[in-house]
Symmetry: C2
Subunit: 438 residues, 2 copies
Amino acid sequence: MATKKTAPIKAASKAKSKAPIKKMNAFYAQSGGVTSVINASACGVIETARLHKDKIGKVFAGRNGIIGALTEDLIDTSKESASSIAALRQTPSGAFGSCRFKLKSLEANKVEYERLIEVFKAHNIGYFFYNGGGDSADTCFKVSQLSKAMNYPLQAIHVPKTVDNDLPITDCCPGFGSVAKYVAVSALEASFDVRSMCKTSTKVFVLEVMGRHAGWIAAAGGLIEDHGIPVVILFPEIVFDQKKFLARVDKLVKEHGYCTVVVSEGCHHPDGTFLAEQGSKDAFGHAQLGGAAPVVANMVKEALGYKFHWAVADYLQRAARHIASKTDVQQAYELGQKAVELALAGKNAVMPTVERISDVPYKYKIGVADLAKVANVEKFMPRNFISKDGFGITDKCKKYLNPLIAGEDYPKYKNGLPVYVQLKNVAVEKKLKKFDVK
Amino acid sequence: MATKKTAPIKAASKAKSKAPIKKMNAFYAQSGGVTSVINASACGVIETARLHKDKIGKVFAGRNGIIGALTEDLIDTSKESASSIAALRQTPSGAFGSCRFKLKSLEANKVEYERLIEVFKAHNIGYFFYNGGGDSADTCFKVSQLSKAMNYPLQAIHVPKTVDNDLPITDCCPGFGSVAKYVAVSALEASFDVRSMCKTSTKVFVLEVMGRHAGWIAAAGGLIEDHGIPVVILFPEIVFDQKKFLARVDKLVKEHGYCTVVVSEGCHHPDGTFLAEQGSKDAFGHAQLGGAAPVVANMVKEALGYKFHWAVADYLQRAARHIASKTDVQQAYELGQKAVELALAGKNAVMPTVERISDVPYKYKIGVADLAKVANVEKFMPRNFISKDGFGITDKCKKYLNPLIAGEDYPKYKNGLPVYVQLKNVAVEKKLKKFDVK
């Protein structure tokens, strides 16, 4: 795989005037749902910061994301060895803990912003690196505005991350390529299984994947079509048409003896309700939380009588570092690296991005986007990535996806299990009064 | 990993008198649920047979298992190149198709047995290799009895295979080690994910795995305990005690902030009903097929209020060749190889087995079992493999499992996806009248 490496930013010295005058510490936090490569970005941030000790003091990580900043629960990453930090590159999940927490606007919750400034001041923090998706980009953007609004010198850089691949401007989002690879590999393997069994047993296999609003992950299932697998994709972008869907499944089973269905958790009926919300009750009359996969599988059984199996990948897909995409791991690292370089260049309220140069051979460079244009914008699958009938992907989509799942980046193993690092996560001594997060 | 390779059987010449007098063809078929390594056994059978062309003519594979024999739907494996056969070693699923079909006793369905003999005679088949689990061992045993009962020279050798690991005599069953590795790796990765999220979000992750009667697969989830993960295993061998289970989950979440539950699909209530059969109905009053995982997850939510996520691995686990155990792949191959060697040695009604010599370093040899002692016997988890409280595994169990998941055996990849072979599966010309399988 050909990739264009980011050249270290030479503008750093030119932009010196904009950067904090004295050597300051950095704050780094992980936010929202974690991925198999978010720690590779953390690795990129910390390793790059360590190369610039003249300008960046220590990197403090927020324990459980921004909550760590608000509660002054900071982790001193300087206590971790170089090999532990390097091992982050091959460790899934969020090594410092993540959170689902969105700061309100500066007007609505000034207390929290004042607290952030108080913590940053107390720990001499001048750089804020926030590693997350759309909601987190919004938080990061709000923090970036603190600098002016509260007259505190702070540079906020967002490091993109989301398996949903729904951030704008950047060509793709770290975390997505690895989930896409997991989904394509798993769907391929399970399809081989069903094909073996279909003569006397299972004829339809349904795999549920993530993606509440955007169908990028489900789309990856479409890549197995070129391996001769009859596959139906159910996207959140296409309103579910039960009659058309059943006809499609029936046709494929009659032609091939079996078929595979990849359904996005966000697939929904014309009235907007998710397939998973089928209003079922358990024996005690409680609302039953299902999944889209069993609903679709039962629908097939009821209407067509085909024996089925279904799987719900859930966290397995986004945590599957063992089958991560090499492209994805590399980009996650480079975006973390670039975030620090942007900070050193005096930037604020920006996010490094992946800019695709060519599909074959795959070439990209790391670019920069204004955070104001990123926050709260969702990027859905373009209609021309979805086949005309709404159940598959187009060649254009395949060209987009192929390089993102390319290459393997296996973790090291010991006794049959991957060696994933667990950091010491030593707390920085608190200097302030307790603060309760609501 | 130290393994003891099977020495080619030297008894072959001595036992010559018992072997078919003239050079005969072999029949090979895959049966029951497929695995990620059953094709490695096929590879072992075919490659070894090809080394003995003086004694074994062609290897004919049954299309869709024994059904292929009954319907005279035979595949001529001699049409496949050496590289295609070699590629079976890294391809999951059943390359010739499998089936769920159990022959009745010779008394109950003589017509089918007569048909088998007719097909074997027509195609000069003197060796019968059947690759399957417990039910298939029974079929193979019945076929082995044909030789005497119907006065036809035939040697029937069973090649063990089952992810359930429930065959007797053999130390383990090909297919199991790879599922165990998949479950342990996936549970470890998802647990890292939950640990990252637990401060503000998911606190309990439930993973459902296969094993309707025996808890071997679920047990593999217990291996992550040594990686610091709080985990609860629900075995089919231990009657589900809801109160004790909830107390255990609550304790772990209070201590660690989160926990992971690995539930076997065969986990059941005191009255014998599976957890998955909770008697729920959908909005239309239809019985709702669930899974054990959502039932357990909802139970935790209702009683303890913890946010949860759940996954059902289903076919993904047994098809996951991408994360197969090296030990498992190697043993699957060796057992196929040994089956042919046993046939050449004139054996009938036997099954090659794995005999463990030592745990650390792991050493084993390939042994032999009488099929009469294998058929229809299920091997459950010994009680001393399960912890006293019923929710975990003992050190004895860990010692048993560790070598079985050891080593990685990655398939080759192209454009981000594994290169799995699809054989030509050329049909052998039919010589007989049509026969309908009921």
